[in-house]
């Protein structure tokens, strides 16, 4: 629940939390973690893009999409197609029966690069496609559904079906997509080897920086009148409609924005992990992305980032030591986050730590109201 202190103190507090996150991502993690762990965190952060998008469209707008993996995957595949073409130069693939096309195409008796692969020779096209392909699909789905007032569970189920369709399609069309294995063996980005530790560290900083930029963008959107209309729409859709707003276009906008964020996350995932496969597209990964957002707090942009980090860190930890327990833990997490703490970490923080923080700040008096004490508090919160 939102408390509304005077606008200026709210802003400064939000800025403070943002700075804490920035410090954590750009300073603390790089200093404390080795290259392998840092790369893992970088991978988790790509999911945070999706989670931030879900805060916009689910938390604020009330639109639950169970197909965010589709947009994540499309962004990731766009990037993977570019990298794969670069890795499949005629010299590198001279031993194939058709040199110059990706290896899996050759294995599947495809003898010519399909038309939709052609533009991915261009890096600038790829960068545009990473955002635009997800957005265009979201636009089509959004216009079709929201103009007809489909929402709630129907929308959730249909987006889930779309996730299923895309997965089956990718797996079925092996010769064009790499099938269940995905697009693997990606090596260089414009001649720069992305496999080394150094490159991975650079990519980590790119990811963290872009994520922070996206959080700021999302915050700007929510801070505008559009953000208030989203909340208003979630609670009283008819009232908004009969205040002269075309409700559907606002929903389409926020759904497309969430798709764009997911696409960026997916592209960065491909760069950091070095491959893309349908296992990041389908029903299961899509719904897991929802839980990242829910654990963090569906109303909180920063919470979503922490949620993505925490759940994924837990997942890695469990799968390393007790793989058979992970599904139980994940299942329990779904149930607990719905039944026990629907506002996630952000909600818990607001309820239990915020009063404490206020007390400390209050005790220190106005003169000492510098940010120095609060980050320490926040650090305890985050792993």
């Amino acid at each position: 629940m939102k408390t509304t202190p005077s606008a200026s103190s709210l802003m400064s507090r939000e800025n403070l939390y943002f700075l804490v996150l920035a410090a954590l991502l750009l300073l603390v993690f790089p200093v404390l973690l080795d290259a392998f762990r840092l790369n893992l965190v970088g991978k988790y952060l790509t999911y945070a893009f999706v989670a931030v998008g879900l805060v916009l469209c689910w938390g604020k707008g009330g639109i639950l999409s169970l197909g965010q993996g589709v947009f994540f995957g499309l962004g990731g595949y766009c990037m993977a197609m570019f990298l794969k073409l670069e890795a499949s130069s005629p010299e590198a693939t001279a031993s194939q029966s058709t040199p110059g096309i990706p290896d899996f195409m050759d294995w599947n008796q495809v003898t010519e690069l399909p038309w939709f692969w052609q533009p991915f020779h261009s890096f600038s096209f790829t960068l545009i496609a990473v955002v635009m392909v997800p957005v265009i699909l979201a636009l089509i789905i959004g216009v079709a559904m929201f103009k007809r007032r489909v929402g709630g569970v129907y929308f959730a189920i249909i987006t889930q079906a779309i996730a299923a369709i895309l997965t089956i399609l990718i797996i079925g069309q092996q010769g064009f997509t790499g099938g269940a294995n995905g697009i693997t063996d990606l090596r260089t980005l414009m001649g720069w080897d992305i496999r080394g530790n150094e490159a991975k560290t650079v990519l980590y900083f790119v990811t963290a920086g872009l994520l922070l930029a996206c959080v700021l963008l999302a915050r700007h959107v929510l801070g505008s009148k559009l953000g208030r209309i989203l909340v208003a729409m979630r609670d009283q859709e008819d009232r908004v409609r009969f205040s002269g707003y075309d409700v559907a276009s606002f929903k389409v906008f926020v759904f497309c924005l969430a798709a764009a964020l997911s696409g960026i996350g997916g592209a960065l995932f491909t760069l950091q992990v070095g491959f893309m496969s349908p296992s990041f597209v389908g029903i299961v990964p899509s719904i897991e992305m929802v839980i990242f957002c829910a654990v963090g707090g569906r109303h909180s942009l920063l919470g979503a980032v922490y949620g993505a980090l925490l759940v994924n860190a837990a997942k890695t930890g469990f799968s390393e030591s007790f793989p058979e327990l992970w599904l139980y833990a994940m299942g329990a997490l779904f149930i607990a986050v719905v039944l026990a703490f629907p506002n996630g970490i952000a909600g818990l923080y607001q309820r239990y730590l915020m009063p404490l923080e206020k007390k400390i700040l209050g005790g220190l008096g106005k003169a000492a109201r510098t940010p120095s004490t609060a980050p320490a508090r926040q650090m305890e919160e985050t792993p």
């Binding site: 189920i157 249909i158 369709i165 079925g172 719904i287 139980y328 299942g331 149930i335 039944l339």
Partner: protein
């Protein structure tokens, strides 16, 4: 794609594939009936419905094992006992889940979706721990094997026929229960106006619990039927959940007849196309058409026009 086949060949392909589709149809109907009751009547999205079905399948597997080892002479009838036990097992679990979880979430349909998804993960892992990751199957009694030859080209397997009959019986029973019994009237009263139903003395909490249990129980029966046409693994149920939801939504969530009609359409389309295209493309095409139609007609095929 039809050019390679002669006319009588085509006819028998359609007939055989049509019948193969009928087995799929039966599973769809039984799954979807349970789901339609829970979703259409209670507004709850049960993502663990597939796992309730698989519970029925495992119950059947255990019952078959019991008959085989303890009373092999009666093996011929194990299926009917198993079906009953499958219903009971899934219904009991459903009742428990409703009490622990669902009843706290009646006004948050999207949250039931997430919570039941969590439940499905837990159940899947539980099945894996108990029964192992490998798929298990039951051996059919002799009288259920073989097939009836209708013409030279068309043969109908007996087990498929039995699954069909079971489906028809269950569907009829559900219809009678929901629309011809006093209890069904109570359920529909609760759906239409909960405070009023409470005011006239209906124990709505109990109605909810039994409705949910009934839906899960039918999923259990679907699981029993499922063992006759496929083998059972911990995640077999998840494969059906999205299809089944589409069946329910496509049919118009409030209408049982619509559910059956839509199950028929989808299963037949998929099964017929499967013969001519690869299995995955048939599925993609079917799902795409369904999603496309739902975008044009979101209320489903059989919804009534009412004041919104």
């Amino acid at each position: 794609m039809f050019a390679d086949y002669s006319m009588p060949e085509l006819m028998s392909i359609f007939a055989m594939q049509g019948f193969a589709g009928l087995s799929l149809f039966s599973i769809f109907v039984l799954m979807a009936l349970g789901l339609a009751i829970i979703f259409g009547q209670m507004g709850v999205i049960n993502m663990a419905h597939g796992e309730f079905m698989i519970l029925g399948a495992y119950t059947t597997y255990l019952t078959a094992g019991l008959f085989e080892n303890v009373m092999p002479g009666l093996y011929g009838i194990y299926f009917f006992v198993a079906m009953f036990l499958a219903f009971i097992a899934s219904a009991l679990l459903g009742m428990l889940v409703e009490w622990l979880m669902i009843r706290h979430l009646y006004h948050r349909p999207l949250d039931t979706l997430l919570a039941t998804w969590g439940l499905s993960l837990i159940l899947q892992q539980a099945y894996r721990s108990i029964f192992g990751a490998r798929e298990v199957g039951v051996s059919l009694p002799d009288w259920m094997m073989g097939s009836i030859a209708v013409t030279d080209l068309v043969e109908i397997p007996i087990n498929g026929l039995i699954v069909m009959v079971v489906t028809l019986v269950i569907a009829t029973l559900v219809y009678l229960l929901m629309f011809r019994s006093g209890w069904g009237r109570q359920v529909r009263a609760v759906v239409q106006n909960r405070p009023m139903a409470e005011a006239v003395g209906i124990d709505t909490g109990k109605v909810d619990r039994i409705t949910f249990a009934l839906g899960c129980g039918i999923a259990g029966v679907a699981g029993a039927a499922f063992t006759m046409i496929g083998s059972t693994g911990p995640t077999s149920g998840q494969l059906y959940i999205v299809d089944t939801f589409l069946v329910v939504v496509f049919g118009g969530a409030q209408s049982l007849l619509g559910t059956i009609a839509s199950a028929f359409t989808i299963s037949q389309a998929q099964s017929t196309m499967e013969f001519f295209l690869s299995g995955s493309m048939a599925k993609v095409l079917t799902l795409l058409v369904v999603v496309g139609i739902l975008m044009l007609r979101p209320q489903g095929l059989f919804a009534l026009k009412v004041r919104r």
